[in-house]
Each structure stands twice: as structure tokens, then as C-alpha cells.
């Protein structure tokens, strides 16, 4: 057990190091300079530009040699300092992310878990029901192939403009100031529904198709036929098939978390919903090294945590892993 987790943790640490390094490197090796962009937005003239330029280069530490910037970056990370955002100057990056993160968690966690849960149940059901299979499968294929952006625009158009039952844009109503009132929570919920749905629907299609195919495969496997020949009840066979089929789906959910960030990006842009997705987009446009680094740092951490949770879940749901582990530890 100890060796298993020790090895896993080492791999996670290595992945973290490499991912964070790459994410530090990429914006810096893009041509262009964020301070120039900042100044061109400010519309300054004459000598003010030169002064501003050297002031900001110094403030962001961009005038130092590149190896030193890299070193400073790691030192700062371990101090919990992610630098100052260039695009949202002078807000510290950690503050920007702290403000945005709750919206992402509220959007991503339920959409990933619920779509996974509902998609698997539905897929399993479809695998043993001809009618459902004939209707669900094509719909599932369409849903999973739909780009988040397009579905988002469609949902926004239908539910916000045509049959105005949901508000458009923002994290909560623009006429409100946050408060502990039910009105405020209701407004939060209303603004959350459509972004959530657009993420949920696309993922749901993917899980349902995957599960349906896996179940059919498992039901055709030798052990199923053997059980059948022994006269086991159908329900028992299906349960075995489900328990086997769920394993690749669990791995899938960990992989999905990385992918879903891009989905969240598109969704947040389409619904003008606050969150890290929109920040990433703006950070790229503005070459905001620090904000970009900060956002990806959280994405990397999120993916690693998800993988870790899946590793643990595997021990719980797959007896073979458990057996292999105790065997290995002896």
C-alpha cells in the first residue's frame, strides 16, 4: 500500500514540475511583450511611455535574465505568490483566481459528476433495451459531437431570448449586490443553470455511448456466457457486466477533467459567466504571463487531484487492484 502511494506521489510530483515548467515557458517564448500591450492600451504619449515601460518591466521582474525569472517563479510559488496580473493590474493573480474559482467549481464539479452518473445509468439501460438503444444512440452521438460553443449559443438563444425563462450573462443579476438572501441565491442558481446544462448535455452523450458499448462488450464476454450457461439470473449477469464496464469509465472521468477546462472556457465566454475559462482567454490575448501561469497551475492541480481520487476509487471498486496491491506489499 505504502509503496503504491509512494510511487504514485512521485509520479504526481514529477508531472506537476514538468507541467508547471512548460506552462511557465510557453507564454515567455511567444513573440511580443506584455508591457508593450499594456502601454499601447493606455494610449500614452512621449516621454511618459519610456518611464512607464521601465517602471512596469521592473515591477513585473521582466528585465531580469530568463533563468533568474524562472528561479524567482518557483520561489514565489512556494510562498503562495503567483505575481500580479498584467491584464487586471494591479490585482494579485491569487486574488483574481480566488474570485473566479467558486464559479468554476460550481459549474464543473456537478456537471462532470452528474453527467457521468446519469450517462452511465442511461447507457447501461440502453444496452439492454432495443427501443431505447435505437433512439438514444443517435442522439448521444449527436450530443457528444456538438461543440460546447455552439450548444451554448443555441441554449442562450432559445432560453434567454426566445422563451425568456433564464437570464443572459453574468454570475448573478446585474441589478443585485451579493447578500445572504434567498433572492440572491435564486439569482445565482438561475444564472448557473444554462452554463451547467451546456456542459452536462455534451458530456452526458459521451458517457452514455461509452457505457452502452462497454456493457454490450461485457455481456458478450466469456464469463457472461459461462454464467448464463450455469443458469445465473439475468440480473446477476448484468450486475457483473456493469461492475466491469464501469472501470474504464472511471479512468475516463479523470482524463475528462483536463478536457472539460476547454469546454468551460467556451461556455463561460458564451454565457459571459465569470470563471477561470474566461480569464484564460483574456490572459492569452493580453499575454498576461502571470495570470496564465496561475490559471494553468490550478488546472494542473485540479487534474492531478482528480487522478489521485480516481486511483483511490480504483482500490475501492476494483478488487483486482486491491489484491494486486496487497500481493505487491508482501
Amino acid at each position: 500500500m505504502k509503496r503504491y502511494f509512494g510511487r504514485k506521489l512521485l509520479i504526481y510530483a514529477l508531472t506537476f514540475f514538468i507541467a508547471v515548467t512548460i506552462n511557465w515557458m510557453i507564454p515567455r517564448f511567444m513573440p511580443g511583450n506584455p508591457v508593450d500591450i499594456m502601454i499601447s492600451r493606455a494610449g500614452l504619449r512621449g516621454s511618459a511611455v519610456t518611464q512607464m515601460y521601465s517602471y512596469y518591466m521592473d515591477a513585473f521582474g521582466l528585465d531580469q535574465p530568463i533563468w533568474k525569472q524562472y528561479l524567482n517563479f518557483w520561489i514565489a510559488i512556494f510562498h503562495g505568490d503567483l505575481g500580479t496580473s498584467i491584464f487586471l493590474f494591479p490585482t494579485p493573480v491569487i486574488q483574481v483566481i480566488k474570485d473566479a474559482l467558486p464559479y468554476d467549481v460550481a459549474l464543473l464539479l456537478p456537471s462532470i459528476l452528474l453527467s457521468w452518473f446519469a450517462g452511465n445509468k442511461f447507457g447501461a439501460l440502453a444496452a439492454r433495451n432495443k427501443n431505447l438503444d435505437n433512439t438514444l444512440l443517435p442522439i448521444g452521438y449527436i450530443l457528444t459531437a456538438v461543440p460546447y460553443m455552439w450548444l451554448g449559443i443555441l441554449l442562450a438563444w432559445v432560453f434567454c431570448i426566445v422563451i425568456r425563462i433564464f437570464p443572459l450573462g453574468g454570475g448573478y443579476d446585474f441589478s443585485m449586490q451579493p447578500s445572504y438572501t434567498w433572492d440572491f441565491y435564486w439569482s445565482l442558481f438561475n444564472h448557473w443553470v444554462l452554463p451547467f446544462l451546456s456542459l452536462f448535455i455534451v458530456q452526458f452523450g459521451g458517457w452514455a455511448i461509452g457505457m452502452r458499448n462497454l456493457i454490450i462488450y461485457e455481456l458478450e464476454a466469456d464469463y457472461s456466457h459461462f454464467l448464463e450457461a450455469l443458469g445465473a439470473p439475468r440480473k446477476l449477469i448484468r450486475n457483473y457486466a456493469y461492475n466491469n464496464a464501469i472501470l474504464p469509465q472511471v479512468t475516463g472521468v479523470a482524463l475528462q477533467i483536463g478536457v472539460i477546462v476547454t469546454g468551460a472556457l467556451a461556455t463561460e465566454v458564451v454565457f459571459a459567466y465569470p470563471g477561470i475559462g474566461y480569464l484564460i482567454l483574456q490572459a492569452i490575448h493580453n499575454q498576461d504571463y502571470f495570470l496564465l501561469q496561475g490559471c494553468f497551475l490550478f488546472v494542473v492541480i485540479g487534474v492531478l487531484i482528480a487522478n489521485f481520487v480516481v486511483d483511490i476509487a480504483y482500490i475501492l471498486i476494483d478488487p483486482r487492484t486491491r489484491a494486486g496491491m496487497t500481493g505487491g506489499a508482501e
Partner: protein, 576 residues
């Protein structure tokens, strides 16, 4: 099946964790009633993060104009300076400018506005002064000698010999007046780079709230303008919404959830004509006022762009009507060959334009190139330069700027039609900007020169010099066009007294001739002052018809260019 409850519990726990994360944020419930609230959008691209009026490109929408005010406001449509925090001002001699400060103006912390505040505001920007803050108006000190306080309400600006009146005029409606008692206690880095979270201004609005997707201002009922203009702005609250995607802006506009959108909304013409209750400044094309000129920048350091014949051919080959009609569906206006905005139309020498100007004529472009020795030597259907070298150029704009992307596709298409190998290219904003500062691009689009109080700002953008300082000046002449005569004329223009239109016309006529014969840049179209309004809650928006000609914009730098007048003119819809 037995996994169901476990999953459910997990979800419930996760959800409640999320909900508690939202909890720490809030005072008592505040709601802004719809009929007292003005919703605007189109300025802010990210969460409001700075209320520092000296942070030129990054302050929250309205920080200058709604909170911090300037000595003058300038109305480009009437070409008129109006004393604002100044009560009156005049040049007592060629180098002495005496400004009387308006009496009875109070900061929102209760202190009165004094001559000291005004002197302090300009003093901190002095590169040779005590504070040495590098600010947007520091350049004023190129001409300024010192500032004296004559009496409690009078400030005297003493300039050096031969001051540049045109540029000086600009800074007097550009510089936000600061409260000395507050700002003199700040450290230099807080003055130039601080967030100024608790802005204390003299203006008609105060800070109410800010979040990632909005900025909320509440009216300052003790505003001095109440006595001067006889009224306060009608909206009690102004909620400025951070720009999302176009579909959100459009959707909110149609729903009536947004009163003024300063976003560029493609195809808005069909909404204006379609009975959706959306209004623009003009009832028909171009719908919008012209705010700046989009020009084709040409890198004169590279071959064959150093050849004036080649540049001239470019001007004749571009089908600008296609850009205006197909790309912009008529919401922009084709530029005059001089590139002077409609507000500067009075300076255009129309006869000279008739003689030297151009229009879309690919045959003529072909002929100019053929006469200059450009021909297809190797039979690849593309022309080679007179010295036989191949021509392969790129015309660029930032990736994602869809209207410009379509425009450079049209330019590339037209170039190929006359045998020039010019391909569109869409780098990211950073590299795109970098290529201008370093002078490495071939051809690109740019619209930096905005409307302002002086036509000098346009010419100083085209003829920015010296050439080795282009990258640090960050304002124009990225193609490094070199012409001593033009540079001297621009300096001369800078020194013309405000309002001396005859002198301005005389100098700019010479400059117009240079731009039309030398083609340092090619003006293409006038970008609009994007503004669409919904009249369901607020009416009496600016319009070409009638008397209300303020600029309908909340953009940075525009509220102090009569945008504030737009706010004062608004009326609640119910009243009408």
C-alpha cells in the same frame, strides 16, 4: 445499484461546499431599481481592477468622467472646449495661461477643490520635479516652466517660449484633477500603479460596488454640476457590464437589459431597421459617428514598399466599398484620401483631393505598376519587382478581430487581382504589436489615431519622429517613413493657437499633399464610435437629428469628450 446513495451524498456534500464558498462577500441586500439604473457595456474587457485615473488604459469604466474630472471637457462635434472644473481660463500673454478654478466644487470626502489640488496634479508629473511620476500628461512639461498659485482660486501656468498650443489644449481635458491631501501621502508606485480602491473625486458618481463581471456607480447628489447645469444626471445607478461575447451583448440589448452598448456588433444595421427598438446616432448608413481612421500601414524600410509607385498602386487597387458594404454591412464610412476624420472635414482642401486623391481602379493600379517596371518575369502570374526580385508580402491583423480579418482578406484578394502576391496573416495581438514596434511587418492595419481636440494628433501619429524612438514613443509611424519637411510641418502645426483654423488649414493642406503623394499610410475607412441604444428605459439619446449632439460613449477618454453631456441629457422613458 448500491452505489447510488453514496454518489448522491457526495454530490450533496460537494454542492454545499460550493455554496458556502459563495457566502463570504456580502452586506445587506441592495437592488438597483430598473427605472433608476443605466446599464452600459463596451469598455471593460476584464474585471474592474483599478480606480486609479492615472492608469490610462486600465481604470474601471467611468473613473475619469464620472468620478475624477478634468479642467475642461472637449466636444469634438462642435470643436469646442467647455470650462469644467475650470470656471474660466485665458492666455494673458503668449506664454502665460491663467486658470480660474470653479468655486463651490467639493470632493466626495467633503473637502473643497482648491488651486492647490490643480497645481499638485500637474506638478507630480514633472520629470524634473519632486515626485517625477511618469504620467500620460507628463509631456506637458516639455513646454511648461512652472505653475504658480495666484490666489485661492487662480492657477497660473507659465510656459516656455513658443509653446505647442495644440498639444497643451489636449492635456487640459485629459488630466484628471487629484485631491492633494490624499495623493500627496501616497508612495510613487501607488500613484502610478496603485488600484486606488476608494476613489475620491469631484464628479457626479461615487463607487457603489464592483465584481468580476460588473462595475456599479451611484450618483453623487452633492455634485457641483447640479447648480451649474440645473440638474443631476437622471440615472441613480450606472452598472457597466464587462464585455462578454457578442451574442450576450446583442441578447441583452434585445431584451432591454442593456441601455447603451459601445460594443462593435456586426450586422447591427439590420436590427436598427428591423423594428427591434434599437437606435444609433444616424438613422441610416453609416449609423455611427466616426471615431478613428483605420489605415493600411506600410513598412517603408522594406522592398518594394520603399517605392512610392508601389504604395500608390496599393491605394488604387483596394476595393474599399467591399470592405464597407460586405465586411461592415455599411456601419463604417470609407475614408477620405486625406484620412482626416469628419470632425476635421473643414481642414480638407477638396480641390487638392480631387487632383491627388484616389478611388478603386484596378486597371489604373496595374498601369502604375507596369509603368514603374513591375512585371511577371517567371510566369507564375505574380509580378516581380523592377530589379527582378520576387514579391511575397503579408498583410496582418490580430487573430480574432473578425472584421479586420475579413478586411485584409479583401485586400489580399484585390492585390492578387492585379498580380501582387499579398497574403493575409493573423498573428496574436502580442506578436502583431511587436512587429509594429520593431518595424518588422510588411503591411498591416492600425487605427490608433482617435478623434481629439487637435488634428495635430493625427499627423503626429503618421509622422512620429525621430525614427530611432518609434518603439518607445509607441504612437505611430511604425513603417519608419522619413521626411524632414513633413516632420517640420507637424511641429509647426503643434504651435498654432487653438481656434486659428486658417493657420491649421494652411499647414495641413501641405501635409495632406504629402500624405496623398507619398503614401506613408493609406487611410481606408473610419471606424465607428460604436454605440447602440435601447430606448425602453432611458430616452433622449444623442442623434444626428435634433439638438442632442453629445458623443454617445463611455469609452476611456470619451466621457470627458462630451460623454458626460450624453448622461446629463438622458431622460426616463416614462416621463415622455
Amino acid at each position: 445499484m448500491q452505489k447510488l446513495p453514496k454518489t448522491l451524498i457526495f454530490i450533496v456534500v460537494a454542492l454545499s461546499m460550493v455554496l458556502t464558498a459563495f457566502l463570504p462577500a456580502a452586506p445587506a441586500a441592495v437592488e438597483y431599481p430598473r427605472n433608476e439604473t443605466l446599464y452600459t457595456s463596451g469598455t471593460q474587457w476584464g474585471a474592474p481592477s483599478s480606480w486609479n485615473p492615472l492608469n490610462g488604459g486600465g481604470y474601471a469604466t467611468g473613473t475619469i468622467g464620472l468620478v475624477y474630472e478634468t479642467l475642461f471637457i472637449y466636444d469634438p462635434l462642435a470643436d469646442k472646449f467647455t470650462p469644467y472644473l475650470a470656471e474660466s481660463a485665458n492666455w494673458t500673454d503668449a506664454t502665460t495661461y491663467e486658470v480660474k478654478i470653479r468655486q463651490g466644487v467639493k470632493w466626495t470626502n467633503g473637502q473643497p477643490l482648491t488651486a492647490d489640488d490643480v497645481k499638485f496634479t500637474f506638478d507630480i508629473a514633472n520629470p524634473n520635479g519632486d515626485t517625477k511620476a511618469g504620467l500620460g500628461y507628463s509631456a506637458l512639461w516639455k513646454f511648461l516652466d512652472n505653475i504658480e498659485i495666484k490666489d485661492a482660486n487662480t492657477v497660473v501656468f507659465k510656459f516656455k517660449e513658443n509653446p505647442a498650443y495644440q498639444e497643451i489644449g489636449f492635456y487640459f481635458y485629459f488630466a484628471p484633477i487629484l485631491n492633494k491631501a490624499i495623493w500627496s501621502k501616497m508612495k510613487l508606485e501607488d500613484i502610478t500603479g496603485g488600484a486606488n480602491k476608494n476613489p475620491v473625486g469631484t464628479g457626479p458618481y461615487k463607487f457603489q460596488a464592483a465584481d468580476q463581471d460588473r462595475m456599479v456607480w451611484v450618483r453623487n447628489d452633492a455634485w457641483w454640476g447640479k447648480d451649474v447645469f440645473g440638474k443631476l444626471p437622471a440615472p441613480k445607478y450606472i452598472v457597466d457590464i464587462v464585455n462578454g461575447s457578442n451574442n450576450v451583448a446583442l441578447g441583452k440589448m434585445l431584451q432591454g437589459g442593456l441601455d447603451l452598448s459601445n460594443n462593435f456588433l456586426p450586422g447591427v444595421a439590420s436590427l436598427v431597421n428591423g423594428g427591434y427598438g434599437i437606435k444609433t446616432y444616424y438613422k441610416e448608413a453609416p449609423y455611427m459617428l466616426s471615431a478613428n481612421v483605420a489605415s493600411l500601414l506600410i513598412n517603408e524600410q522594406k522592398k518594394p514598399m520603399d517605392d512610392v509607385k508601389f504604395r500608390t498602386a496599393l491605394a488604387w487597387m483596394i476595393n474599399i466599398n467591399d470592405i464597407v458594404e460586405k465586411d461592415y454591412t455599411g456601419i463604417v464610412k470609407a475614408a477620405d484620401p486625406t484620412g482626416l476624420l469628419p470632425i476635421w472635414d473643414k481642414y480638407i482642401d477638396k480641390d487638392q483631393v480631387k487632383e491627388l486623391g484616389w478611388s478603386y481602379d484596378p486597371e489604373k493600379a496595374k498601369k502604375i505598376l507596369a509603368d514603374a517596371g513591375y512585371k511577371d518575369v517567371d510566369g507564375d502570374k505574380f509580378l516581380e519587382a523592377p530589379d527582378g526580385s520576387k514579391i511575397a508580402l503579408k498583410v496582418t491583423c490580430p487573430s480574432g478581430w473578425t472584421d479586420w480579418m475579413a478586411a485584409i482578406q479583401i485586400i489580399s484578394r484585390d492585390a492578387k487581382a492585379i498580380g501582387l502576391n499579398i497574403e493575409p496573416d493573423y498573428p496574436d495581438y502580442g506578436p502583431w504589436r511587436d512587429a509594429q514596434l520593431k518595424g518588422t511587418f510588411d503591411l498591416t492595419l492600425q487605427n490608433e489615431a482617435q478623434m481629439s481636440s487637435t488634428v495635430w494628433s493625427y499627423y503626429s501619429w503618421i509622422f512620429q519622429n525621430p525614427l530611432d524612438k518609434i518603439a518607445t514613443a509607441q504612437y505611430g509611424n511604425y513603417g519608419r517613413y522619413d521626411n524632414k519637411e513633413a516632420f517640420a510641418l507637424v511641429d509647426q502645426l503643434d504651435k498654432v493657437k487653438l481656434g486659428d483654423d486658417a493657420a491649421i488649414k494652411e499647414i495641413t493642406t501641405k501635409l495632406q499633399k504629402i500624405t496623398m503623394t507619398e503614401m506613408p499610410t493609406i487611410p481606408l475607412w473610419y471606424n465607428g464610435l460604436w454605440a447602440q441604444y435601447n430606448e425602453s428605459v432611458w430616452t433622449n439619446w444623442p442623434s444626428a437629428d435634433g439638438e442632442n449632439h453629445a458623443l454617445p460613449a463611455m469609452w476611456r477618454g470619451y466621457v470627458n469628450m462630451s460623454g458626460i453631456q450624453m448622461l446629463l441629457n438622458l431622460e426616463p422613458a416614462a416621463k415622455k
